[in-house]
Each structure stands twice: as structure tokens, then as C-alpha cells.
């Protein structure tokens, strides 16, 4: 085995090694910890791009941990979808880390860089693993790190929201384990590819149990994705978290969506008896309501961070409208929109932070405040982020929504999908315009201008996120053809099973 064959383990191994070192040097040499953080993020990006280059032709890399062959050992599976998520994670991590370092958010506690790397380890692992129990373990890794990051900076509001966040996710973990126990009892395997074959042989009297397990598992992923009615934990948590952390959390809901895309076609696809596409009929109504609730929240939010949190719910709903079609075209459009909505959500949180830092005691409340210095530039950034999130041209949100509208037009319930996507876009535009005009246009009476910030460097990270969105729209042709290919690969579980189970099906 050459070194290149070990490529799939590196996205997990690099942060796992970097985190303890960052922890060790943080107290004495903070600059070194920052350096370790950036070096690890850059290395992860390089590895992710290399992986993407290797799998873009359609090969599926299966990496047997400890060289135990699947289905007995745990495998990491790198295909187009996994590589796409890895690259997205690494890009987002670089942007967020830049913002945290520039705004000195990483100095509010000792463990920011270590927790940040553990969070990336959990995310990368969840995107790579081909084993359901291992997926649970990586979910826990990313959740435990996220608890620490969410509480980073402390304060009563964060602690209050933190308790709720932890309790909700503990219940989610318990449900995840129950679903896993049922699936293992029915199929005798935890490897996703192997389980996809084993569900065909489940006895007729156990079909009900299989269906329950499928729906339970889908509910857990829906909880992570913050799909209505399981979304109530998100706005408070994200609005209370340190803005840089909230921007990183923009990808956490996408982990839930990713898991749905990965597990449902592979395990509960055509041959799964009573559980075949079991979660699918529930997904579209939930997605439609999520989009409505999310963008209604954008309209009513009292602060920019809360608005960004609701925008995350709304855009996840829009994304799931595309996923719920389970056709190659709609899933491809969904994947393109997934990349876009993650970066756009992060940009919103970062811009909210930039505005809050300049408005002194007014923070990011959506009410008229002082005429702070550099208002024009921040307003431009906010407008660009809002345009991207709502899906107006010229940024990639427009292309994403257009692709989704086009692809769902061939599906049965397209009227509902069109109505909701277009309606929520309209509400979102009004909501963002209202908040933006209150913050950046109007000036409150008797508001002395707060002292100008010492640095304009904090504009860099949001600008970087928006530049990525611009690149995504310029390179839309390449991006959509890759997303379509990734979607086609996901909907073709037999090829993946053949690559993972080298011994052949049992």
C-alpha cells in the first residue's frame, strides 16, 4: 500500500492530531496554536481536493480501517458526494477560522482551536464513514465538540441555550441508538452497503419493525437537519453562539441532510420491502413547512443573528424540497444548493458579527442605531449575503433555486414546491430588506457614534465567503455537472456496494 492509498483516512487523522497539539501550546504560545489551526485546515483542504480529484471520475475508494475487510471491519468510503462535503467543510473551516482569529473570538477561552479541530474531525468522519454505528460515533464527536464551541465565550444566554441544545441532542442520540439496535437485530450488519443487501431478506413478519427503524433513523437525521417540527432548538442556539461558531454550525444541519441522502437510497431503496423509500412521503411536507417557517422567521427576527439562524432553517427546507424528489436531477440541484446555502448562511452570521462589532451597545438588533463608521461597506456585504440567501441574481442562490424549480417540475407535487419556493423567496427578500434598512439606512435619535473599530480586517472573512459564492455562480457549469454526477452515484447503490464489499455479497 502506498501513501496515496491512505488518503481517505487523512481528513479524520489530521484534525485528530492537530487538536491535542493546539491544546498543549494554547496557554504558552497562542500564535503557535493559531498556526497549527491554519496549517491543519489548509492540509485538510489539500487532502479534500486531492480526494475529489481522484473520485471525480466515478471511482469509489473504500478504506478498510485496520485492514479488516467489510462488512466485518469499519470502512471509510470516499465517493463524489463525500469528497464534495469534505471540500465544503474545509473551505468553510478556513473562512470561519480566519474570522475567529481576526476578531479575536478565539481568545475568549483556552480551548477554541482544539475544539474547532475536533469539530472538523467529527464532520469529516461523518461524511466519510460507510458504517452506521461509526456514523453515530462521529455524530457524537462533532456534537461533543459543538457543545464546547457553542458555550465558547460563556455568559448566561449561552448557558441557557446550551442546556437546551445538549438535552435535545442527547434525546436524538438515544433515538439513533434505538434505530441502530433494531436495524442490527433485523439485518445482522451495520455496514451500510451490506445492510442495503441484507434488508431484502428480512422476514415478512418483521417488515413492520424494519419500517419503524427506517422512520426512526430518518427522524434523527431530520432533528439534526432542524426540519419542522424538530427545528425549535436551532434559532436560540445559533443566535446565542459566538458568531464565528454559528457560521461553522451552518454546516451542521447539512450533516443531517447528507445522512438522509446517503442512507435512504442505499439502505431503504428499492429492495427494502415495507421500508422501501419509507421516509420519502414525509419529507416533502416537512420540507415545505420548514421553508415557510424559516423565511417567516427571517421576516420577524429581532436581530441579525436570529435572522441568519431562521435563514438556515428556511434554506435547509428549500434544500430538502429538492432532495424529497429522490430523482437524479432534483438531487443534483439539491447538492448544488447545499454547497451554496452552507456558505451563504455562514456569510450572514459573519456579516451580522461585523455589524454588531461596529454598533457598540446596539449589537445586531434589527432597529435603528448609530451611524457607525464604514457603514456603506458593511451594508454592501449584508446586501450581497441577503441576495445570496434569498436567491436573487447574480449570486449562486439564484442558480440553485432555478435548478431546483426546474428539476421538481417533473415531479407529482410540483405545484406545492413551486408555490412555497417562490413565496418564501418573496417573504425573505422583504424580511432582509426590512432588517437591512433598519440597521444600515436609518439612524436612531440621540445615538452617539461608537468609536471606530481599530481594524477593517474583520471584513475579510465575510468577503471571502461571498467570493466563494461568486465563484460558485461563475463556475456553475462545472459545479452542476459534478453535483449531477454525485447524485447519480448516490442513487446507484449497487456500484457502491460492489466497491465496498470486495468479498462480494454474502
Amino acid at each position: 500500500m502506498s501513501l496515496a492509498d491512505h488518503l481517505p483516512i487523512l481528513p479524520v487523522a489530521i484534525p485528530a492530531l492537530a487538536a491535542p497539539f493546539a491544546l498543549l501550546v494554547m496557554r504558552r504560545r497562542r500564535a503557535l496554536a493559531v498556526g497549527i489551526g491554519f496549517a491543519a485546515c489548509l492540509a485538510e483542504l489539500a487532502v479534500a481536493v486531492l480526494l475529489m480529484e481522484r473520485v471525480s471520475g466515478g471511482t469509489i475508494l473504500a478504506y478498510a480501517l485496520g485492514d479488516w475487510p467489510a462488512p466485518f471491519g469499519i470502512v471509510l468510503v470516499a465517493d463524489r458526494l463525500a469528497a464534495l462535503m469534505l471540500v465544503l467543510t474545509a473551505v468553510l473551516a478556513l473562512i470561519v477560522l480566519t474570522h475567529a482569529v481576526v476578531t479575536r473570538a478565539d481568545r475568549k477561552g483556552w480551548h477554541f482551536h482544539a475544539l474547532f479541530q475536533f469539530q472538523l474531525m467529527g464532520l469529516n468522519g461523518a461524511f466519510l464513514t460507510g458504517d452506521l454505528f461509526n456514523l453515530f460515533v462521529f455524530f457524537e464527536v462533532l456534537l461533543i465538540a459543538s457543545y464546547g464551541l457553542m458555550l465558547h465565550g460563556q455568559g448566561p444566554a449561552r448557558l441557557k441555550a446550551g442546556v437546551q441544545y445538549v438535552v435535545v441532542n442527547l434525546v436524538g442520540s438515544a433515538l439513533f441508538l434505538i434505530a441502530l439496535g433494531m436495524l442490527y437485530a433485523l439485518t445482522g450488519t451495520l455496514n451500510m452497503a451490506d445492510m442495503g443487501l441484507a434488508v431484502r431478506d428480512v422476514a415478512p413478519e418483521d417488515q413492520g419493525l424494519l419500517r419503524i427503524a427506517a422512520l426512526l433513523l430518518a427522524s434523527v437525521f431530520a432533528l439534526k437537519a432542524a426540519v419542522v417540527p424538530l427545528h425549535l432548538w436551532l434559532p436560540r442556539t445559533y443566535a446565542a453562539a459566538t458568531p464565528a461558531v454559528a457560521a461553522l454550525f451552518a454546516i451542521m444541519t447539512k450533516v443531517g441532510v447528507y445522512s438522509l441522502i446517503r442512507v435512504v437510497p442505499q439502505v431503504f431503496g428499492e429492495g427494502a420491502g415495507a421500508a422501501a423509500w419509507g421516509p420519502a412521503p414525509w419529507l416533502l411536507p416537512a420540507a415545505l413547512v420548514s421553508a415557510c417557517v424559516g423565511f417567516a422567521g427571517v421576516f420577524t427576527a429581532r436581530s441579525l443573528a436570529e435572522q441568519a439562524a431562521y435563514a438556515i432553517i428556511g434554506s435547509t427546507g428549500t434544500l430538502l424540497i429538492a432532495v424529497a424528489g429522490w430523482s437524479g436531477a432534483s438531487l443534483g440541484a439539491g447538492l448544488y444548493y447545499l454547497v451554496h446555502s452552507t456558505l451563504a448562511g455562514a456569510a450572514l452570521f459573519l456579516v451580522a458579527d461585523v455589524a454588531a462589532r461596529r454598533r457598540g451597545s446596539f449589537g445586531d438588533t434589527a432597529s435603528p442605531g448609530p451611524a457607525f463608521g464604514g457603514r456603506g461597506t458593511v451594508a454592501l456585504l449584508f446586501m450581497a449575503a441577503a441576495i445570496a440567501t434569498t436567491g436573487l441574481p447574480p449570486l449562486s442562490g439564484f442558480i440553485g433555486k432555478l435548478l431546483i424549480l426546474q428539476s421538481v417540475a417533473a415531479l407529482p407535487n410540483w405545484g406545492w414546491a413551486w408555490g412555497v419556493i417562490l413565496g418564501t423567496t418573496f417573504i425573505g427578500v422583504i424580511g432582509f430588506a426590512r432588517a437591512g434598512s433598519a440597521v444600515f439606512w436609518k439612524t436612531g435619535e440621540d445615538c452617539p457614534a461608537p468609536p471606530a473599530p481599530g481594524t477593517r480586517l474583520d471584513l475579510v472573512a465575510p468577503a471571502l465567503a461571498l467570493a466563494c459564492l461568486a465563484m460558485l455562480s461563475v463556475g456553475a457549469g462545472i459545479a452542476t455537472s459534478y453535483a449531477d454526477a454525485a447524485a447519480a452515484q448516490v442513487l446507484e447503490p449497487a456500484a457502491s456496494a460492489a466497491a465496498v464489499l470486495t468479498e462480494g455479497p454474502r
Binding site: 454505528f133 461533543i144 448557558l159 437546551q164 442527547l170 439496535g181 442490527y184
Partner: protein
Amino acid sequence: MSYEFLFASAIGVLVAGGIFLALRARTFQVVMGLTLISYAVNLFLFASGRLVLNRPPIWDKTVSEYTDPLPQALVLTAIVITFGMTAFVVILALRSFLETGSDHVDGDRVPCDAQDGLADGEGAEP
């Protein structure tokens, strides 16, 4: 009564108690509820390899029938994770109570009822 029936009803009772407690308003009761649910989940995972009596989980020359070793490994992982998480949520709940003066999960400050023995807001100062 069969062994399976006893086992299943034990899980059922644990889950019922756990859900009742987890829906209470105060953090301590919620933590107890989550603990009960996690016990139930561990038992459930253990049973997913079927309940087999007096059989070894690893290879032995003298026996021909085994119990499934994988659920035991899964339960071990699940126990470690839930143990750590429970410890974390206890500390978090304590910090939250000391900083906000309220141990209600929804974070509202309500006048304490008589059974607490705490006057309103007495816990606000750490």
C-alpha cells in the same frame, strides 16, 4: 413469564419513567430522565443480538453455540459516550443555574414553589 417478556417490560418501564422525567421543567429531573432513557437504550442494544444464556461471546474449543459479541461492543461504546455526556450536562446545568439563577430548562425565572425552600432568585449569586 419468559425471559424476553421480563427484559422487554423492564425496558418499557425505564423508557416510560425516562420520558416522564425528561418532560419535567427542572434540569435535575430532566438529567435523571435522560439517564433512565440511556439505560433503557443500552439494554435495548444489548438485546439486539438476541438473548442467549450461558454462551461465550468469543471462540472456545469446547462449545459450538455463541452469543453475538457485537452488541456488547456497541453497548460498551454507548455507555462510555452517555456517561461522559451525562457528566457534562450535569456540570452545564449547574453552571447555568449559578449564572442565571434558574434551574428551569426553558430558562424562565419563575417564583420558586414552596417545596424548594428557596426564595425567589436566591440562587442568583453564586
